[in-house]
């Protein structure tokens, strides 16, 4: 545990003031609640997007539980990621209805267009491709989830439009940031 906390990478959230504050707040808010490990991890994963090994060690120490327990929980649940994700995540629903309706073809199309595999991020750090469990929108199958937004009834030849919309959204966000 000490080793992990001694050599923290410069780009680790623990070395970024705003993100460190998120971690501290998550710990302070939940420290005294029963079952705090999951609560803190959910909060940190939700706001920062991943839980690095150093962060796991830090959380374990602050909550006074073994690192093994924190690491065990992180690796058990599929929502926790140990590596930073892309700015946007495209998830492919693997529910039965979506599978039958042709999600595998969509995955092929996405892989080919972005030139990355599942669970990989584009070199510019923009898009991560993932599979996910049934999102419960089966009547819209096949379904692709871009961040929190659900795109239903998506045919492979419509997939480029999803990417285009994402790029337009990113451009608009950048412009807004530039205008400030």
């Amino acid at each position: 545990m000490t080793r992990l906390l001694k050599n923290i990478a410069s780009n680790d959230p623990l070395n970024i003031t705003e993100q460190k504050a998120i971690i501290e707040k998550a710990i302070a808010d939940n420290k005294d609640r029963q079952g705090a490990v999951m609560l803190v991890l959910n909060e940190v994963q939700g706001k920062i997007g991943h839980v690095s090994p150093a962060m796991q060690a830090y959380i374990a120490r602050k909550l006074n539980v073994p690192l093994g327990q924190v690491h065990g929980v992180v690796t058990f649940y599929s929502f926790f990621k140990t590596q930073p994700r892309g700015k946007y995540t495209i998830k492919f629903c693997l529910g039965t209805a979506c599978y039958v309706a042709g999600v595998p073809q969509l995955v092929e199309k996405a892989k080919q267009m972005l030139n990355i595999d599942l669970d990989q991020t584009t070199p510019d750090g923009m898009i991560t491709l993932e599979e996910c469990r049934c999102v419960g929108a089966c009547s819209q199958a096949p379904v692709v989830v871009v961040d929190e937004e659900i795109h239903g009834r998506l045919r492979p030849n419509k997939f480029p439009q999803v990417l285009k919309a994402l790029q337009a959204k990113d451009g608009a966000a950048k412009e807004a940031a530039g205008a400030d």
Binding site: Q45, Y77, L94
Partner: protein, 593 residues
């Protein structure tokens, strides 16, 4: 009481007031007096109608005509046209927006809605909406007119069984937890609806959270619990948000917290969010997860009713089970027990998916047949295709075939037929679904979601998956079917929890009903449904092909060549058999062999 032929409801929310709603009301009153209509038409103030962006707005009943975007000066004209001449003023008319709810539309034939009755009809974020449909009346009745024992007796008599899948009688479960002399006790609501293809609980949590909450509070009173947890999967962020709003409102109204409704009964609860682990729907794994641990199941006994959350007696029921409770208390056990079959009472929600005309969420009385669900409620098979099989009970369930279409749906009948009720996913398949591929798909799911604690499940499901993959890829050999059967039996017998015990079900049931498909894959290297990629090939046919180049442009591996307006050709060496070309072709020119 005076009789009015017409009522005019004018919106007086802040936005409309800012746009002169009061002036509109004054003008209406004056004009109605002038026209001599004041005894016939009543003007009322109301809250937001739904067009405040263009306010002021008003709605005229009984016609239900909605006017927006006018001002006081327009009132004489509207009064003259609408109330004197009986003509609708189209200029200001706002047409009702047609909201198409793809999941849960209007009541379908043969449906009976108890759990879903409020979904889509009330505002889930406003407790007053729920109160207006008799919400929390059952809680009052339970607290003031019934003892905890009587509540349990009522639930027992109703015949309500656990809607999470196993079907344990809810009243008996409550009784077991009540009997244990160890405090504090906990109420847990299992909202970890992880079966692929099932979304009934999500809809209830998002559409009618207070019914679940009320059921839990009544249950807590019955078993003597003082605190509760709703364990919801992380894939349902909106459900979590809606439920948290419901909890805050219930606290504010005194339905939760210290001394509920002024009695000496106190109960509070919180939402705990999962993090993407299917096995957490198993009750002992769920309890471990609430405690912040890895969601691994533990052997029972001890059952949660004796040793659950924090080692204390815990009552765990599913979302749908709880949301049935308020109405059972309110309308009585005989009413509930009048629906359903001998041993399965009431209604059940199903998420119907797959190749039917009208997929979506339905609620039907127990005992209905699959045939009625597929052909009457879900509108029949898609595009005139033929029914082949239906997967019930999710990845731990099994498939049923044409011979089971007239089976009355209840817990026992489904188990006897080799499937199970499960939480209520129904995936309906036609001849374009390959049953070996479906079994492989479910095994891929259970294999990935096996928590890894016990060997039969961890290693067994992996071996099953490998065998199925081998068969789908055309490398199946003599003896593989027997190996599958042996493995299935061992895994079922020796696994620790329901996930492992149920995991082989899809294989067992597809082997039972579609053995010939396995044999075709193994001995003839042929996929009868033309799904398994290594066993099929795509061809472009003359003269259907118009040479539009759509397929060539969409092919991910550039296996299609051909000049514009000329017959195209697929290079079988390069083709990865993804099927995109078939989907994009507008002329059905691509055939699958």
């Amino acid at each position: 009481m005076a009789f009015f032929r017409s009522h005019v409801l004018v919106c007086v929310d802040p936005e409309c007031l800012a746009r002169g709603a009061h002036d509109v009301i004054d003008a209406l009153q004056d004009e109605l007096v002038d026209q001599g209509l004041i005894d016939e038409i009543q003007v009322l103030e109301t809250s937001r109608i739904g067009g405040c962006e263009d306010g002021p707005e008003m709605i005229v009943y009984p016609e239900g005509v909605h006017y927006v975007g006018f001002n006081a000066d327009d009132v004489p004209f509207i009064v003259e046209e609408h109330f004197l001449k009986g003509r609708i003023v189209e200029k200001f008319r706002e047409m009702p927006k047609v909201v198409v709810d793809e999941e849960l539309g209007p009541l379908r034939p043969k449906e009976v809605r108890i759990v879903l009755k409020n979904c889509g009809y009330i505002d889930p974020t406003n407790i007053e909406d729920y109160l207006a449909v008799d919400g929390y009346q059952a809680l009052g009745k339970a607290l003031f007119e019934m003892t905890p024992e009587q509540v349990i007796e009522e639930v027992k008599n109703s015949g309500l069984r656990g809607r999470g899948g196993a079907g344990f009688p809810a009243g008996r479960k409550w009784d077991l937890t009540r009997q244990v002399n160890d405090f504090p006790k906990y109420m847990v609501c299992n909202a970890d609806e992880g079966d692929p293809g099932a979304f009934m609980n999500r809809r209830v949590l998002e559409g009618d959270p207070h019914s679940v909450l009320e059921g839990m509070i009544i249950g807590a009173y019955a078993v003597g619990a003082s605190y509760g947890y709703v364990y919801c999967r992380a894939e349902y962020p909106i459900a979590v948000e809606t439920f948290n709003i419901a909890i805050a409102q219930a606290r504010e109204f005194g339905f939760l917290g210290e001394n509920i409704l002024g009695t000496d009964f106190s109960f509070d609860l919180e939402v705990r969010v999962g993090a993407g682990a299917f096995v957490c729907g198993e009750e002992t794994a769920l309890i471990a997860s609430i405690m912040g641990l890895r969601g691994e199941p533990s052997p029972r006994p001890p059952f949660p009713s004796v040793k659950g959350v924090w080692g204390k007696p815990t009552n765990n029921n599913n979302v749908e089970t709880y949301s049935n409770v308020p109405q059972i208390i309110l309308k009585g056990a005989p009413w509930y027990a009048s629906m359903g079959t001998e041993r399965s009472k009431g209604t059940k929600t199903f998420a119907v998916g797959g190749n039917v005309k009208k997929p979506g969420l339905i609620e039907v009385p127990m005992g209905i047949t699959l045939r009625e669900i597929i052909f009457d409620v879900a509108g029949g098979m898609h595009e005139g295709r033929h029914f082949k099989a239906v997967q019930t009970g999710g990845p731990m369930g099994g498939c049923l075939t044409e011979q089971h279409l007239d089976l009355p749906l209840d817990y026992e009948a489904l188990t006897q037929a080799g499937s199970m009720m499960g939480s209520g996913g129904l995936v309906i398949m036609d001849e374009t679904s390959c049953m070996v591929d479906i079994a492989r798909f479910f095994m891929d799911f259970t294999q990935a979601e096996s928590c890894g604690k016990c060997t039969p499940c961890r290693v067994g499901t992996r071996r099953l998956l490998e065998l199925l993959q081998k068969i789908c890829e055309g490398f199946g050999e003599d003896g593989d079917i027997e190996k599958l059967e042996e493995l299935c039996e061992e895994i079922t017998k020796n696994s620790l929890c329901g996930l492992g015990q149920g995991a082989p079900n899809p294989v067992v049931s597809t082997l039972k009903h579609f053995r010939h498909e396995y044999e075709a894959h193994i001995y003839e290297k042929r996929c009868p449904s033309k799904v398994c990629r290594p066993l099929i090939r795509f061809e472009i046919t003359d003269p259907a092909c118009t040479g539009c180049t759509v397929c060539a442009r969409n092919c991910p591996v550039e296996a299609i060549s051909g000049e514009r307006r000329q017959l195209h050709h697929i290079d079988q060496e390069t083709c990865i058999r993804c099927g995109i070309c078939v989907q994009v072709c507008n002329f059905n020119a691509i055939t699958v062999e």
